[in-house]
């Protein structure tokens, strides 16, 4: 019966183990983002290949935090799997990265931080504390502890207005008002376009930081009600410092390709500010969460008001 030809030849292929999450560079050590459009992503061997109009490029997925996929991109199932294994967040964005449509999953397999975020979020007192902490981070001189939330928002509004006015003077770019109209993008002023393009990058990065560290983008503290509320919270901590200088500088420079120049300038600026490292540290500072990662393959526990019960066990003996 045995057909000798069916014996598989001895294979010299390397057997790769399941990706060990610990061997991945931590989020803070990675590189920020890569924007691709009109590109086809495929897996090849152990790598991810992008067929870009310029040529085939291999994506350093394990060190990359966010991959922004613009119009004309297609991704194979295997490529998404490879990217998710290495903890590279995938975001589907509009042309030049100005709108965010959808996102993939981060690299944490434990829910401990998400649960802590939910606890802090659900209790009005602890939520207010986090909100105050978030506002306090934007004022280096500190905030008086007796200010009401309304007063804090007033100060924040003044801070934002002053920042726009300051950059407007410094770069000689006229500033009227922030326009959010995504429908008629081409009619917005250049500086508004520049700010929007920069914000989209920052949102992408904040989103990736939140997912990568195991928090929920939906449970916002200052912002509320949107699926990305917490993304807006985190991005607002850095927006003025990160996006405005680059956006105003590029808007003041004549030439085409404004959005691209903003993204390029932003990359250098974010590196100088060590933004990834700061985001990671600030998130941990705000929400806590330095529990050791549990064994990723182990089953989760079952909740019990008396204390969690072990999961992955048949509890049939306990029904009497």
């Amino acid at each position: 019966m045995t057909d000798p030809t069916s014996i598989p030849p001895t294979s010299n292929a390397i057997i790769w183990q399941r990706q060990n999450l610990r061997e991945l560079p931590k989020f803070r050590d990675g590189t920020t983002y890569l924007y691709l459009d009109h590109t086809r992503l495929e897996q090849d061997g152990r790598g991810v290949r992008a067929y870009h109009p310029e040529g085939m490029v291999t994506i350093p997925a394990a060190s990359l935090s966010v991959l922004l996929l613009g119009p004309g991109c297609s991704v194979s199932h295997e490529a998404v799997k490879a990217l998710s294994d290495t903890g590279c967040s995938l975001l589907w964005v509009g042309e030049e990265g100005v709108r965010l449509y959808a996102s993939g999953l981060g690299e944490t397999r434990s829910a401990a931080r998400l649960q802590r975020q939910a606890l802090l979020w659900a209790n009005p007192q602890s939520r207010l504390r986090v909100v105050r902490q978030m506002y306090a981070m934007r004022f280096p001189e500190g905030l008086p502890p007796d200010l009401t939330l309304q007063q804090i928002r007033g100060r924040e509004g003044a801070r934002v207005r002053d920042a726009y006015a300051r950059y407007s003077r410094a770069h000689g770019v006229k500033w009227d008002t922030r326009q959010y109209k995504q429908q008629d993008w081409n009619r917005a002023t250049p500086v508004n376009k520049a700010v929007s393009a920069g914000n989209a990058c920052l949102y992408g990065l904040a989103h990736a930081a939140i997912l990568s560290m195991g928090y929920s983008p939906a449970l916002g503290f200052v912002h509320t009600g949107k699926m990305l509320s917490f993304v807006y919270d985190v991005a607002d901590l850095y927006k003025l410092e990160v996006v405005l200088p680059v956006a105003f500088r590029e808007a003041a420079t004549p030439g085409d390709d404004l959005e691209r120049r903003v993204r390029t300038g932003l990359r250098d600026h974010m590196t100088r500010l060590r933004l990834l490292e700061r985001m990671a540290a600030d998130l941990l500072h705000l929400l806590g969460g330095d529990d050791p990662d549990p064994e990723p393959m182990a089953p989760g526990d079952l909740w019990d008001p008396e204390g969690n019960a072990a999961g992955g066990v048949n509890h049939a003996g306990h029904d009497s």
Binding site: T31, T32, Y33, L34, Y35, L36, H38, T39, R40, Y51, H52, P53, E54, G55, M56, V57, T58, I59, P60, G72, S74, R260, R263, T264, R267, D268, M270, T271
Partner: protein, 107 residues
Amino acid sequence: MTLEAVPESLRGELSRWLIEVQPGVYVGNASALVRDLLWDKAVGHTRRGRCTQVYRASNEQGFVIRTHGDATRRVVSLDGYQLVAVRNARHAELAQEYDPPEDDDKL
């Protein structure tokens, strides 16, 4: 720096400054001036061969890549992120399918 199919004298010139860790692969810690002079020398004497240079820089990736002499591989900068683009047969085949926008045809 790496060299491929270049004249023997160029290899000798590089080995005066850098260590040849493997055939054609040169490593060393040179000043920016020496690095640029070596690159100019390499480009000037490559003839039909190929050379690349990678050096430390204070950008996000921490280094800069430059290549010379290889028509199928070239360095592209995607919003400031340097990657190597290979134009091989598979790329040519797929390029017809995903139809890059027209302004990219100029590149």
